[in-house]
Symmetry: C2
Subunit: 342 residues, 2 copies
């Protein structure tokens, strides 16, 4: 009897949760930390720094190389390719709507976009600079950057922290609102087609919303800097070896705790049709297969192909409008190059 009541209670709370799925449209602006307001001057400088490959050792890799704003904010690759053709171990997360993540990187090792921005500069398989000072030396040599720093942060402000702040401020403007889903949530009931609406229901009934909730479909909302992590994969199945899903230690790499093995941040699902291949290791090339693998590995649920197709159709409704971006002019080094590594 006691067990029966327990099950009843579980069913009751589960159905409450399902009913309580509160769909939210993506906001037009992103939260910013108190010490880095998203000012026009910081955004402008940040855009330049984001696009400038001259802070990589070879002069070939910018933030945009792996987080291409002309594509889905990533690079179409399983894992990214940095200086000298070197490759890393994880798939580049999209920079679009990254501002709505409460922690950064797959393992949440950076609290804020400001912290994240510094990582790739000195990563030997990404931008490959010897140290942060070497990157700053390059920026200082490009004298045309000075007035932009002055305007954004005041005099004598060319520091690595301000580089990171400017890039983060720019990234907070990379928002793709007004997806068919957003329009639907705001009241336009024709914004999604029938298959997308079927997919939306199946997305809930399958249990996807237990992790992929909120306006960015990236988990219960936390304060900036606090992460929400889930073990991936949770259930063992044929896909685990097929796609090597257990090879990455996830958050254990950050904390050193075995309890954190395989824990990952919940990635956003916005614009997901533009960000193949999928997962932390980019091992799954196809979105339908990714849906199948997730349902089996996280919810122990084997989806019918029709369900998979409906959910994929729904995910297609999460692609919003990419804002128009004018290419920045990167300041010249006036008759000499600062790239000395070949």
């Amino acid at each position: 009897m006691k067990r029966f009541i327990k099950i009843l209670l579980f069913v009751f709370f589960f159905s409450l949760q399902a009913q309580a799925t509160e769909w939210q449209a993506l906001p037009g602006t992103a939260p910013a930390p108190a010490d880095n307001p998203t000012t026009a001057a910081r955004v402008e400088l940040g855009k330049m720094l984001f696009m400038d490959p001259r802070f990589s050792s070879t002069g070939t890799i910018s933030c945009n190389s792996c987080h291409n704003l002309m594509e889905g904010g990533d690079d179409s690759r399983r894992v990214s390719m940095g200086v000298h053709g070197k490759t890393g171990g994880r798939n580049a997360p999209t920079v679009w709507n990254a501002a709505f993540h409460s922690v950064q990187f797959w393992d949440g090792r950076a609290a804020l976009l400001e912290d994240q921005a510094k990582g790739p500069i000195t990563n030997p398989v990404e931008m490959g600079m010897k140290d942060e000072q070497a990157a700053m030396d390059r920026i200082i040599k490009i004298t045309g950057y000075k007035p932009f720093f002055d305007k954004a942060f005041g005099k004598n402000s060319i520091t690595i922290d301000n580089v990171a702040k400017a890039i983060a401020a720019f990234e907070r403007t990379l928002i793709t609102a007004n997806s068919p889903f957003d329009k639907y949530v705001k009241g336009n009931k024709k914004a999604m087609n029938k298959q997308q609406l079927r997919g939306m229901k199946k997305f809930v009934s399958t249990g996807c919303t237990s992790c992929h909730s909120g306006a960015a479909f990236n988990g219960p909302q936390k304060k900036l800097g606090r992460g929400f992590y889930v073990t991936f994969p949770t259930f063992d199945n044929k896909y685990v070896s097929q796609y090597k899903l257990n090879d990455d230690k996830g958050r254990e790499e950050v904390t050193g705790k075995i309890a954190d093995r395989g824990l990952f941040r919940i990635p956003t699902l916005l614009n997901i049709t533009d960000t193949a291949p999928y997962f932390h290791n980019g091992s799954v090339n196809d979105l339908a297969e990714a849906v199948r693998v997730m349902a089996k590995s996280q919810l122990n649920h084997e989806l019918l192909d029709t369900d998979v197709n409906d959910i994929v159709a729904f995910l297609g409704a999460l692609s919003g409008e990419y804002p128009k971006i004018i290419m920045p002019r990167l300041p010249s080094t006036s008759g000499s190059s600062i790239i000395v590594e070949y």
Copy 2:
């Protein structure tokens, strides 16, 4: 007496030429071949193709990687870096105002921009595609490109020739008019400062205009497809070994004729302060040194430092206005990636 007359005649014609230096402002439009008018639809498609890295084997190298429109239309590197960090033998020429060159590449091996555009795709150290068909297979898989080809070239028009035509059409819009020099030539006598005006005179008196003439300072104007070539270096001197100026066989690589050894196309001098490092092998990092080397190697003239500085100041007046470019949206591959080489 005969010899004296000869010298007199030479001086007479030389002074005629010097007096006849007809300065020309850069036109706002570039010439196009009859079979590829610069239509808006072709330019739009060409911009997308120019910026899209997915036609390189690794998905990392676009035209813009080495001809960066946010910089001087090049890459700040001695020689460019293609797929897998591979490097070539020559410095990337600027794509800005490339439409005013009557032949393409340092050795003129492509007649038109249309011919040039195909080269890097299958070059193993640039975009590294196995063959043109492999690149076309990628473009066809990105179904979002089809309507743009339809609009630009009509139905069933996704061919390598039309890819090249679209890129060339876009490149013909990459013009930087209204430099201080252009404004001066058009009548604004205050557009250049005193040092620049001194440099302009020294540019003529030193003999630079014997090659660097015309609105783009890239030699006597020829019909599209016909080149004007000069031996570099012409005079032996200490710089030749210092900067390895004789290591490249130049146009001999194209024709196989020893008579063409060391022949190169005259590069434009527009925006030259934005295109360091210099020469076909990128061996000279500094513009002042490049001027010194050119005067000695081509005109057997040792310039005073003051003359060098004045000429460099004049060259700075050749930087025009870069047009604003909105980043293109690159069509998505809708839930699967086409990059299969890692």
